[in-house]
Amino acid sequence: MTLADVLGTALWSLSRSRTRTGLTMLGIIIGVAAVVSVVSLGQGAIANTEADISAMGINLITVSPGAKMSGGFRTTGVTTLVPDDALAIRSECPAVANVSEGVKTTAQAIYQQKNASTTVEGGSDEYPLVRGWRLSSGGFFGPEQVRQAAKVCVIGELIREKLFGSDEPIGRILRVNRVPLEVIGVFAPKGQTSSGQDQDDVVVVPWTTGLRRIIGAKHLNSVLLSARSAEQVPKAVEQVTSLLERRHRIPPGGENDFSCQTQREVAEAQEAATLLMMTLVSVVALIALFVGGVGVMNIMLVSVLERTREIGIRMAIGARSRAVMWQFLGETVVLTSLGGLIGAALGIGVAHLIPVAIGWPTRVTAAPVVVSFLFSAAVGLFFGLYPAYQASKMDPIEALRYE
């Protein structure tokens, strides 16, 4: 028997009972589709993270209070970072280009009868430079307004839409924690970050306004700064670190009460988390595929028993054990491979549908498609072996007598 004969016989057998074939394949189809779509989702998230960093500028460095801990967790509520630290960085770190004092809280923004819960961020006049954000209308506040803690704000696109709709927002007054703020600018829309935070859902005020008028605190949540160039990032981190160590009187070898995170590190942590998630879900999907394989074996065992007479006839007219073995093995492998093929197509379809349906980015790559297809074929080979062996060792006389 040639390979073409084996495949032909397999397809013939499978087409005899389409419902059973379809149901048996379902486990494989779902498993493969799950692997392909989950991996595409993960790849999409990683690609998006990469895009985020380039959008936010790889020069961005975030100085946060509290020591950095493993796994990206950080203690919060630490009050060690103060406005004087930012001033010192400005004057003493030559590798740093722009600095923005960072203040952050969530609050209700109210305009007339409308209100929206949003993130209120404080920054310096260099905030747009540090973040690389552009305005779609109006202007940003200057150093004078920062010094005076002026009651002005620049809003994100989402806030503009929620509170003002089709009205012109520039010059209007909105209230945050009872503080009236004049809208002087609107940021150009930026969309979500890969962690799901909407960057357009923001109200930015001078950090002085944020601290004194809105929050009522004396310490900063962070200091955002940008290095002069991508190459200068390590040098900037070094300068800032040694400056703050000195200012905070950290003994040599002692644990810092602040941490510097570059955008690259943020992205890497995020990618690692995505990768872990993707791997876990893929493992679950592969287990599903394996369970599907057990189902296939079950059906094939039933099928072998049902077709005892057919096996007897084939043996009587000269089929060798190996030919019978190949027949059933071929059938199982064709079944699971076909399931793998359909599953891969379905997975690719789902991967293309997800961005449209729920807005998550996906990226289809060849590797998961090929790997899960080969895996499904291997599942067929593995789980088909035992039923095929059962069929091949039948006694032709008894098989012929089987009713």
Partner: protein, 248 residues
């Protein structure tokens, strides 16, 4: 070198059922020459089925020798026997034993699938074989679209397609009405005239009358072996029969 297609010597088959041992064949010696048409008779339990299974290389004797075309097949391995069944033996069964989801021509092609005959030649030979049994124009029909007699003809075409040395038929007319039975016997007689060697199991004496030689089994032994001086002519019987009322 003899003209024997089959030569069995002291053929013995013992079934071990644990506590008891059943001797199904106790020392059968027999030759079948090329071109003979032999009826194998005997009650159930007489050993004729065991004899046919060994003759058909589906089973191996416990002891004794079986030479098929002067080749000792009694000690062959499983796969060698499969190959012998494929090329040297044609089977016809009482229940036809066709594969139901396959068309007539696909059923006839089946033995060639296992005999490594090229695909293009398979179809050609299958059609030839079907034509030889009078079913040339029904090759695309499935078994359930054919009458019992036609199904048995497909089975005979399948048995002959690899040009075997011997045709073994196990109660080939057992599931057929009397007219169709004679039709099948007419076909066997025609094949026999063309030189085929046929061994047919039957328990009906009037069916055995169409054969040139009759052998009887009883209790695992060959008790009677004689040539039939007056072989009935199936073609003549068929002509004398009233025309069929119904043909499926």
């Amino acid at each position: 070198m003899t003209n024997d297609v089959v030569r069995v010597e002291e053929l013995r088959k013992v079934y071990d059922l644990g506590e008891v041992q059943v001797e199904a064949l106790c020392g059968v010696t027999l030759s079948i020459r090329r071109g003979e048409f032999v009826a194998v008779m005997g009650a159930s339990g007489s050993g004729k089925s065991t004899f046919m299974n060994i003759l058909g290389c589906l089973d191996r004797p416990t002891s004794g020798r079986y030479l098929l075309e002067a080749k000792d097949v009694s000690t062959m391995a499983r796969d060698e026997l499969a190959s012998i069944r494929n090329t040297r033996i044609g089977f016809v069964f009482q229940g036809f034993n066709l594969l139901h989801r396959m068309s007539a021509v696909q059923n006839v092609e089946l033995p060639m699938l296992y005999g490594d005959v090229p695909k293009t030649e398979r179809r050609k030979r299958a059609v030839e074989s079907l034509t030889a049994v009078g079913l040339g124009e029904r090759q695309g029909h499935h078994p359930n679209q054919l009458s019992g007699g036609q199904q048995q003809r497909v089975a005979i075409a399948r048995a002959l397609v690899n040009r075997p040395a011997i045709l073994l038929a196990d109660e080939p007319t057992g599931n057929l009405d009397s007219r169709t039975s004679v039709e099948i016997l007419e076909l066997f007689q025609r094949l026999h005239r063309d030189g085929a060697t046929i061994v047919m199991v039957t328990h009906e004496p009037d069916i055995a009358e169409y054969c040139s030689r009759q052998i009887h089994f009883r209790d695992g032994e060959l008790v009677d072996d004689r040539s039939n001086p007056r072989v009935r002519d199936a073609a003549a019987d068929l002509a004398a029969m009233p025309p069929p009322h119904r043909r499926a």
